[in-house]
Amino acid sequence: MKEIAVIFGGKSVEHDVSTITAHIPIIEALLASNKCDVWPVYIAKDGSWYSNKKMNALAYFKQPDFEEQLAREKKVGLSFDKGLSLVWPGIIPKTVRIDVVFPSMHGTFGEDGSLMGLLRMAGVPYVGCDMASSAVAMDKVFTKQVLTQEGIPVTPFVWFTKKEWSDEQAGLLEKISKLHWPVFVKPAHLGSSIGITKVKNESELENAIEVALHYDDKVLVEESVENLIEVTLPIMGNDTLRLAEVERPLNKTELFDFTEKYMSGGKKGGGANSAYSQIPAEIGDELTATVKELGKETYRVLGCSGIARVDFLIDSKANKIYVNEVNTLPGSLYHHNWKKAGVSSMELVLGLVSLAEERFKEQEGLTHTFRSDILDKIGGPKISK
């Protein structure tokens, strides 16, 4: 049996969503497949790592005395000796060698490439986008800059850091005033709509920027789209891509905020993002085809692999499509959408594991070192034998 570690939780505002994604569908489908041994690796909000098979049940995290139970758990360590092992310290330490890691961390440290960098260093196959694409996708400004460079349409924007805002506020306000209003103010790195405000006039702008700067030190201000239809497209694959259905979230308010995205609807067992959606989105064949093409192109340009979800903004009157952002770990992998596209949760999760192994194998073939005599040529005393 394959030993698979699912890493979730983490020091992120999306800690709890990450726990849901890890269980629905990842751990549940892996366990149901009967094909692997699943090690749940939970990173607590204080950054401590734990792993105990009882954490394979989502119910564990819902217990009223969960924190107390966790405090009694032994922390788990990682060993990077030609691969990754989980190590529980003790007189006789217990070690489990991991074959594949399934990162299930949304937001900071997990989805921003940090975890991927760690796993890359460890030399273990891991599911999903690699370090570079995760880091770019996590930064809304980088994403827009890269996509603009490649000719993929994005809405006009202005960006700045916390320091720039305090130093050159007037200049920045001037720049922003040239955008077509209303505008959106967003923290550059946060997902799940946290800290985002739609601003209709200048009097609201400064406050919205302060809110965004509370969460992040880099802020994006971008034009909103008129006659808006929001759609999203989950994509999986490394070189050959498979597309899910184009999905239209039918949110109640203008902005799809965190509570709505994850907490409204309350459909049991659906995981994150299961409520309020039209799948496939009824936007006509032509727009659907363009969304799919742009989705594939965005996935390729950003260097995504495994899975990602590309979000689009459509001006329904002008029939203009803009790529809004890329999410490298869609909540609950958007398994509800994949299901409608003919991919069961088990096929999705096991398929992602295979893609991870495939990418790892390909990268193993690359040369990362070469023999050189540079050390010999450098000056300094030689060690005599």
Binding site: P25, E28, A29, A32, S33, N34, K267, G269, H336, W338, K339, K340, A341, G342, V343, S344, S345, M346, V349
Partner: protein, 479 residues
Amino acid sequence: MITRIFSRYRPRYVRSLIYMLQASEYGFRDYLAWYGRTKDFSTVEKRKQLIKTKKVYALYIFAYAIIIVTLASVYYAISFADSSSKIIILACAAILTPYLLAYVILAPLALIKLLQVPAEFVLMAQARKKLARYKGLKIAIAGSFGKTSMREILKTVLSENKKVASPPFSYNTPLGICKFVEGLNGLEDVLIFELGEYYPGDVAKLCKLIAPHIGIITGVNEAHLEKFGMLEKTARTIFELADYLKKKPVYINGENELARKNANRAMRNHIIYARSGAGDVSVESAKSDPSGTFLRLMIGNVQFNVKSKLLGLHNAGPLAVSAHIAHRLGFDMKRIKKGIEKTSAFPHRMEPREDKHGVITIDDSYNGNPDGVHAIIEFLSSLKGHRRFYVTPGLVEMGSRTKDVHIEIGQRLARAGIEKVILIRNSVTSYIEQGLKEAEYSGEILWFDDALLAFNALPHLTVKGDVVLLQNDWPDQYS
């Protein structure tokens, strides 16, 4: 191994014995057969749980009383023995008590049964008298399978113009029927009875009690073969209904081979029914999909199209029988059509439901007989454009035919091109796998250790448009 041995010495052992008695409906044969087979008593309650009734509490008290009395007697006895023998006697008593308990626990039940005999006799005499005075039409249904479906179809169609009553659930034993008769007020126009057959003579006994006017024989197959031993014996028992009715009408399922073969026993007045019709009711261009079954019915010179919500073409025969009886009772075509349109799936019998993801699950968990299985496979094979999952733990009580019946199921599944077959690991499912392989099955076989694991995995295996068939339950007494 150690867990197995010590499972007899845990407090749960008493609960397991009582649970199994309850699960076997206090039938000694099933209980003793289970006891003989079982090695580990720690995980007996899997599918269901012990329901705490007065009888159960009484058995608990009795069981613990036996344990206490046994140990106390032994303790008393050893006070006379020398010290070296004491330990040996005490150890022997402790070791043997659980084994004895398994049999001794039957004593109070045997006593109750004995005391019930005169009470039952009086009850039956009263019911027989009441039914003899009864002026309405009495229909009796016998067969190894399909009795409840036939009863429900008849009840639905005939209720369009008549007051119809039938025993609830699967009350098909003399006592169950007597209980039902007790509650009748005499205003009913039609009574419909299922006749349960467990041992030879059962059907004849029920016929004498009910005195039916019309009989329906749904078929003969391997259901309860473990009790009958031979299929011929099953057939003879079921045809006790035809023997009783003599010249009165008996409807016989012509699609069932053994029923057809024995049809001559039903004298001249029998009516063979099949998906092509029954008597002067004929069925044309029948087709079935997950929404129901479409038929063109011809009764005499009148034709009409009708849709039933029942799934599978095997329902066309019983629907034709209901139309035939309704017609003989003077129903007009409108009412017959309306009645048939009201027929829909019964709980756990080819009962379809669609979830929010667009997966259609057909619950056929009460279908535990080969003819029912053939019908559902035929239905699944007719579905186009759907990926089909067949989930089964196999069939119980198939006796000497166990291997053949399951190999045939496997072969039929392979021929029907079912995409995924999910098998629950037990003593019979390997034969289904054998049948699948023999017929060069090209789909995927998935194994699960128990049904619960399979049910939990299903939401992760399915996508929109898939059809999942849950066939049969595997009661704990067969584990």
